[in-house]
Amino acid sequence: MNDSPPPEPTSTIGDDLGLGLSAPGSALFDAHGHRKVHPISPLVHAVAVFPAMGGVAIAFSASGGAAVASRLSSLPGLEALSALSPILAAIAVIAVLAALFSLIVAAYQYVAWRALSFWFDDDGDFRMQSGVLFRQQRRVQLSRIQAVDVTQPLAARVFSMAVLVIEVAGQDDSRVRLKYLTLADAREIRREVLARAAGLAADTAEAPQDIVTKVPTGRLAFSLLLRLSTAGLLLLTAVIILASYLTEGWAGIGFALVTGGVPLIVVISEYIRFHGFTVAQSPDGLRLHYGLLRTESRTVPPGRVQAIEYVEPLLWRRFGWTRVLVTIAGVGADSSGGNQRQQGNTVLIPVAGIDQAHDLVARVLPDLDTSSLTWVAAPKRTWKRSPIQWRNLAVGWDEAAFATRRGRVTKRLAALPHARTQSVRWTQGPWERALRLATLHIDTTPGPVAVSGLHLDGDQVLEIAYHQADAVREGRSRDRSIHWGQQ
């Protein structure tokens, strides 16, 4: 029995960041016997918000607060600095302003901290009370809990803090975030919530995890560089630099900064996001753990996965690599998460060998076997509508799943079980009509995966659409994976 805690990130930026700021764990209770989050939370909020406050400070000193800014720069320390270098002085002023704004935020967050508490009520449901002006009490029914995760944004990581995220199912899928708890506390509460949600005693030990796979760092970096757009832009940058050197005309070097800088930024940010990507199997589902600066832990519960997509860029095919995207019900509809976070949340694995990818998909969607499908390809006349990708356009199905193929340079194969179909759409634009073609869309919940069979024979597609509607009816009556938590 494997009792070890979830795999730690392997980066050298440890929980302490060398500042010796590891905050002791706390089990604080308020007057009602409800639990509080860690007292350092207001400070963590202030640090988290500091970069944004920097932007606010810049805007402030540029417009209304110029007088304040100039008065600040006449402080003794800063005057000496401005004698040395005006730019440094300006940055120092901005930093001071940002710190002041952050302190204001911290003060507000202190009041919010006093109002925030959480506990388990008599039915065992998780309750959270918050709100300074508008008091709000949330009740998370155990039966509606889809996943519980522990993440560490960068600011929290400095203080060895973590955020507890509870994903709740329902009409409006939502997330409950508890900021901030010590890492150990967050894991402890996660264990308790999961134990209660599974109907076990509150002190049941954490479910064991078996690590399925880990993406090697070298492969991640190499694969990110190996995408056609990235490689192409970097090559272009090299050409520009070479041409500038040979012709001694350095005017074009600015272009090189853009064509080189943009792909580098993309590669670096994705590398930071997916560093140390580890997939582990636990009874709660597949657990993903990744991140270099900000570490995230995500659970992919069985029964919530709607559709998957294999993405194979051209340059990856030599190595047999693929990326797996997944549409999870409720993810991608989160209004409080940033765009970047949503993107990170919908990748099952950023790069893997094809067999490994099939294995992972089989763990989340057991009945899906893309190798045994009956495929119907686009007719020859489709080349007039889609000259580049027409050879790869096809739809396929078996009794359990439906799949579509598209793309030429980047090949994509999207698939979903019949039971996950929300609706079936047959569309035909005027150009398609002239060629007697049509497109079939299988609608599913919002997410990165679009299951669309483009530009196929019109009559065939209509027949397949009706056939799929029948399959949906049968698939739903046979589907058992939705009730994973109610055994």
Binding site: A169, S423, W426, Q428, D443, P446, E463, Y466, V472
Partner: protein, 166 residues
């Protein structure tokens, strides 16, 4: 429906229900209202001291567009149809961009009946279906209020009895 021809699928079966012709009137009224700014522009062009052929051409273009849109509205409304089958609802529409949506009853999360001011005045409403997918585009305009209410109740009832979670 085995191997239906594309044309026939939309028109042949008796079970397809068309929408009310009052929708044509409603849409044409909206077209008329939306022509007002264009008419205003043309009038202004006539008043301005520019060569006469410019406003004349603009007026002719506006007239041609109006006549084409007027005719198109009639054709498009005639293409709206729906069909209640045992386990799902079919909604078809479109002349230039044709569309057929099949929504299983168990997938319907919300059924809305809405009507704008002009629709209300003429006695037509729109029934809109929502599933968990944002891309499901199943709305049936031009239904009379009683028919729409009955349809909504039937759909809601079938949705409940067949629903099986997400």
């Amino acid at each position: 429906m085995a191997s239906p021809n594309t044309e026939e699928a939309f028109t042949s079966s008796d079970e397809w229900v068309r929408v009310s012709p009052k929708l044509v009137t409603a849409r044409r009224i909206v077209l008329g209202i939306s022509m007002l700014p264009i008419i205003a522009v043309v009038v202004v062009l006539f008043i301005l001291p520019i060569p006469a052929f410019i406003p004349v051409i603009a007026a002719l273009a506006g007239l041609v567009f109006f006549i084409w849109a007027w005719w198109l509205i009639g054709r498009r409304v005639r293409s709206y149809a729906y069909c209640e089958r045992d386990d799902d609802l079919l909604v078809s529409s479109g002349i230039l961009f044709r569309r057929l949506v099949i929504v299983p009853y168990g997938r319907m999360q919300l059924v809305d009946v809405t009507a704008g001011p002009i629709d209300r005045a003429l006695g037509v409403t729109t029934v809109q279906l929502h599933t968990a997918a944002a891309t499901t585009d199943a709305s049936i305009p031009g239904l009379e209020p009683t028919i729409a209410a009955d349809l909504r109740d039937r759909l809601a009832h079938r949705g409940e009895t067949r629903s099986a979670g997400l």
